[in-house]
Subunit: 404 residues, 2 copies
Amino acid sequence: MSVQYTRFLSNLTAFMRASEIRELLKLIEKKKVISLAGGIPDPSLFPIDDLTKITQEIIINQGQTALQYAPTKGVTIFRETLVDFIRRMRGIRVPNPECIVVTAGSQQALDIIGRVFINPGDVVLVELPSYLAAINAFRVYNPLFVGIPMDENGLRTDILEEKLKILKNEGKNIKFLYTVPTAHNPTGLTMSIDRRKHLIELANKYDFLIVEDDVYGSLIFENVDVTPIKALDKNGRVIYVSSFSKILAPGLRLGYVVAEEPITDIFEKAKQSLDLHASTLSQFIAMEAIRRGVIEKNLPRIRSEYRKKRDIMLDALEENFPKGCSWSRPIGGMFIFIWLPEQIKTHELLSKAIERGVVYVPGRPFFVDSTGENTMRLSYSYPSEENIRKGVGILGSLIKEELK
Amino acid sequence: MSVQYTRFLSNLTAFMRASEIRELLKLIEKKKVISLAGGIPDPSLFPIDDLTKITQEIIINQGQTALQYAPTKGVTIFRETLVDFIRRMRGIRVPNPECIVVTAGSQQALDIIGRVFINPGDVVLVELPSYLAAINAFRVYNPLFVGIPMDENGLRTDILEEKLKILKNEGKNIKFLYTVPTAHNPTGLTMSIDRRKHLIELANKYDFLIVEDDVYGSLIFENVDVTPIKALDKNGRVIYVSSFSKILAPGLRLGYVVAEEPITDIFEKAKQSLDLHASTLSQFIAMEAIRRGVIEKNLPRIRSEYRKKRDIMLDALEENFPKGCSWSRPIGGMFIFIWLPEQIKTHELLSKAIERGVVYVPGRPFFVDSTGENTMRLSYSYPSEENIRKGVGILGSLIKEELK
């Protein structure tokens, strides 16, 4: 099974039975379908030459350390390098390396956060829609999800405030708000700076934590202020999550979480029983990629490629999608989100789309209130320019037919 | 902090406060202490040259796949390679690659097993003593631990049977028995074939699963039959866990679990929200190490080194430890377990030992019934031959003084 379908499938398990998914898969494999589904980096942008050189040198010169067990929070010199990298890239001042826990991708950070913080029934606030794999990671711990709508400036903090008042009055225990403020998954929207500031005020006033998922924070194509919420935070309210999956290579499975030291000490204990530590070799590779400037040298290339693909997808949508459809105009990241006329149920449309040779992710599973039946997420990072045009064209015709 | 203390610390957190551990650590760092504590491979036995070559070729030739996302159960061609490898190395017939889930070390397999199977109050049977990191992984899910004594032939299946009758009568829900049947951690003992067969009979009769942790199964120095329980299992009772940490390199964080396909499908779903998948690069490296015979070529070297170190430690014990002490004589693995006279409490003795320049792991945390205060675990895999002699000598003198 090709990799883009693995992540696609994980999006479907939320609302389809295994047998239905298997049927879809068979179709996909038979038809050589164009995938606009998974949020997968373009592998032709991996800095292969640099990584070959780095990895070879690491194993020859430091193999006895780089292939050995490592501390649970992560290789110490890697975390020291990260302190500097995070400040340089995102303007966040990490007091010391003990405030960082290196994780197996940002996914593991989300699981650990859920495991450590959520007691059954605790309120977890999320955007409407929100990142599905975060919802799934948290759901294991039985929170009460409360969804907050978004607009073109991201999370509606005014509506959040109203909700908070109600929840407090009801005596609910509000644990944290999870947000992807920059180049949001699935919508591609970015939260304005005013909203970020308002959000911190609310967190202080109503006493909850903010989990900031910033995996797209360095994948920004436009001149927009995307200062992380963590950089605006003076009271240790923000637990900051990021990853090397989109800026270096997802196959290394490397992410990290930044928080106050008492919190990271608890995360460390949780991670110890999860998997002891993240791959030592991956940590050494990422460390050297930072030190030698490989990531910062490669990022402009990734940004410009994704920007080009985003433009192609936006143009194709303009050209092919009928009136009554609207979509986000992301300033970065990998996704465009589409709102179709209400009568179209995108999860029902999916098998027809696959029949015609294109897959997308139906929007409903991203909404914790089970709305969003008329929405879909398209990703432009992985498919070729030609396939973006072709795929969007096929979808456009299909939707037009449905509306007849 | 040096790596051997990381794993050592995880053994201490079971019964010491963070502040106490920090004090110990300061002592250890000041004193340049000999560690007979952590179960850590000797890194001079890593096949560095082969791994350099393999890794370089993988990134150059297959970098776009080896650095990309992968299926949650693991890279498909790697799991195909594993089917053959597991049969060849351990005589286990895995029906197909879907029965394997590649995990982040065996530790993650244990966490997933706990997560999927344990409901609060379920009985989990373990050896007395048992692997501490397994106990910790399962404990998160609030089982009722029931410990079964061991003797020189491993788990006392006769006592197990008595316990099972009582538990059944009490209406308890017996979920699984966790065992390290071969070169057991912490005792170094190996379960006899008759006991393995008896264990399977009991699992069938009393309807529970067996979780077989076989990470030392290929690290055997003597001509003893160590057929895995899984290879004797006709009814899918055994969930088999193993790892590349002891036979290749722990820094890759690669383990796997083998079970019936409906079970691995559930594991897959759990793993999806834990970390999506294990490091793709690590999987490619292990796959090539298998295909090119690197592991099978290197194993005799590891075995002969560890055997030599085991013999040195056994001789040193014989020479230095007073009457009234007894210890296991492992046929493989990394550990020797020591029973001291009852008046000696090894967790109390620890700081004195560190003062004199040697650390070990006190035995009590390995016992779910909190017995074993007079026991300790020594590891011979990591320290040099000289340090084994020296460390055991220091311990011997200290114990003699305590007995005066």
